[in-house]
């Protein structure tokens, strides 16, 4: 157990999932208010074929190249979703569901073929499905952290602009803030955070790191700024905690533990969240009732008027 804390590699891995979770929490918060949470799920599934194809082209595991493959395939997925939605009367969620399952199916099929040919499993390709943070080498960690830090910086620097763009894109455009630029930037960040996360968290569960933190954060605050910060903390915390637990056992996947950590935070938020939590709301109602009783006591009861 102590070895984990002593090994510098493990420390780096922990730190990188912390940063990844933070970036995912922030981008997820943007998705949440763009009302596009499902988009992150669709895109992370859509990344799989790209990962596998990139691997089979090179014949060995090379993270930057596989990230590139993942990004290309996720962008194609995003573009297809857009295309299906705008060229037919299909609703956005249906288009997302369609792309999600088709791309994931394709990815799994390719994965089977590649590992049949040999080498796929040993190379740890299947870690891209459930995530294996421990399989990351130092350069993987650096790549991941560099990208995550850029994403965090873009969200923070453009905080005011993101807020305007999410609340009222037309007005933003009137002020000269191009919605095409913001849309493009948002999609790029979403795809990037997904592709750097899939080795650690896996394509199936990556979306959880994007969806659960902002939902949990919304139970605690009514301010966009605080929600963004909380979502980042929840995401980072889940990343850290999940990775820590998964390193305790040999070969344990990281993704599921991150999701469990994230879900635990969600559960606490639903119950105890200071803005929308169930307990707080029940308590407030009780207090209101009590106060109402106290206030209305001294006044003698009016006779009930009867309408005739």
């Amino acid at each position: 157990m102590l070895d984990i804390f002593l090994s510098p590699n493990a420390q780096w891995v922990l730190f990188s999932t912390l940063i990844l979770g933070t970036a995912a929490g922030m981008v997820g918060c943007l998705s949440y208010w763009k009302r596009q949470s499902l988009m992150s799920d669709a895109l992370s599934h859509a990344a799989l074929p790209g990962v596998v194809i990139a691997f089979s082209i090179l014949g060995y595991k090379n993270l930057p190249f596989m990230i590139f493959g993942a990004a290309v395939s996720a962008f194609i997925g995003a573009w297809l979703i857009q295309l299906i939605r705008s060229s037919s009367r299909v609703k956005e969620d249906a288009a997302m569901g369609l792309i999600l399952s088709v791309f994931f199916g394709l990815g799994i099929m390719l994965l089977t073929v590649v590992s049949r040919k040999g080498g796929g499993n040993q190379a740890g390709l299947d870690s891209f499905i459930f995530g294996q943070a421990a399989s990351m080498v130092r350069t993987d960690v650096y790549t991941m952290m560099a990208v995550a830090i850029v994403i965090i910086a873009v969200v923070i620097i453009g905080f005011k602009e993101w807020k305007l763009f999410l609340f009222d894109p037309d007005f933003a455009k009137g002020l000269g803030l191009s919605s095409r630029l913001m849309d493009g930037l948002y999609l790029a960040m979403l795809v990037l955070v997904i592709v750097i996360g899939i080795q650690a968290v896996g394509v199936i569960l990556m979306a959880a790191l994007l969806i659960i933190p902002p939902v949990s954060a919304h139970y605690w605050t009514m301010s966009f700024k605080r929600m963004l910060v909380l979502s980042a903390i929840f995401g980072g915390g889940s990343g850290l905690l999940g990775t820590l637990i998964s390193t305790m056992g040999k070969g344990w996947p990281t993704g599921p533990f991150i999701v469990i950590a994230s879900a635990s935070i969600f559960l606490v938020s639903v119950l105890a969240g200071t803005q929308r939590g169930l307990l707080v709301r029940a308590l407030q109602l009780q207090l209101q009732r009590k106060q109402h009783r106290l206030e209305s006591r001294p006044i003698p009861r009016q006779p009930v008027k009867e309408g005739k």
Binding site: E161, F167, K173, L177, T221, S223
Partner: protein
């Protein structure tokens, strides 16, 4: 100098042509009511002029120049339903958005900016609601916040899409007082409006629109029974008869 000049403008959604052959020239300092039946293309006209929706043909010039060059002088109050009122922010914050152009991108609002925003809220009788969540405002209060955001922009030409829909008499008066004050400050205002009964009281100019411009000019000259019937079709009963 012309404030806004539109030549030969047309626009469509997919297969449906919504606007065709729209031509007009807006007099500086005028307060225009844009009226026409549902689906006449009033909102579309505003969106096309502001380049929020593409045009098929035509030319729109603002202050004898292009929109891109005069953005800071043009204010827009969209229909209230066009934004997500559940978004976690407060009234003051929304009004501050009107100052983003002046503040500059990637910079934070200063104390003075906040004071300006508070002042605009106060002008709309909303000073007490500055810290209130926008989701917890009533429809009329949300509309006042939108107006305050436009005021703080300090534009020279304003477009407003149905600012009076769903508000009570007090809010309607507050909004109209503000619009008239804008006009006397020399600003030009164009308002999509639905209540034919108040047109003569509120606006010095009227644009009658139904897919194209039926008439546009001074209210007392243009707002006649014939013209209104031409715009709305024969079914409308002219209120002065009742």
């Amino acid at each position: 100098m012309s404030v806004l000049k539109v030549e030969d403008l047309s626009a469509s959604y997919r297969k449906n042509k919504v606007l065709s052959d729209v031509n007009f020239n807006v007099k500086p300092g005028s307060l225009t009511g844009i009226i026409g039946p549902n689906g006449a293309g009033k909102s579309t006209l505003l969106k096309v002029m502001l380049e929020l929706h593409p045009s098929l043909s035509g030319k729109v010039s603002f202050f004898d120049s292009t929109l891109a060059k005069t953005k800071r002088r043009v204010g827009y109050v969209p229909q209230r339903g066009s934004v997500d009122w559940d978004f976690p922010t407060n009234a003051l914050d929304v009004v501050l958005m009107g100052l983003y152009g002046k503040i500059g991108w990637f910079k934070w609002p200063s104390k003075q900016d906040k004071e300006l925003a508070l002042e605009a809220l106060a002008q709309m009788g909303m000073a007490d609601y500055a810290d209130r969540q926008i989701s917890q405002l009533s429809g009329g209060q949300q509309q006042r916040v939108f107006l305050a955001r436009a005021l703080v922009q300090d534009a020279d030409l304003y477009f407003m899409d149905e600012p009076l829909v769903g508000v009570d008499a007090a809010t309607e008066t507050a909004i109209m007082t503000t619009l008239k004050r804008l006009k006397s400050a020399g600003k030009t205002v164009m308002v999509v409006h639905h209540d034919l009964l108040t047109v003569e009281d509120y606006f010095d100019h009227v644009m009658l629109l139904n897919r194209t411009i039926v008439e546009y000019g001074k209210t007392d000259e243009v707002f006649t029974k014939d013209n209104v019937q031409k715009t709305y079709g024969g079914s409308l009963r002219w209120m002065k008869e009742a």
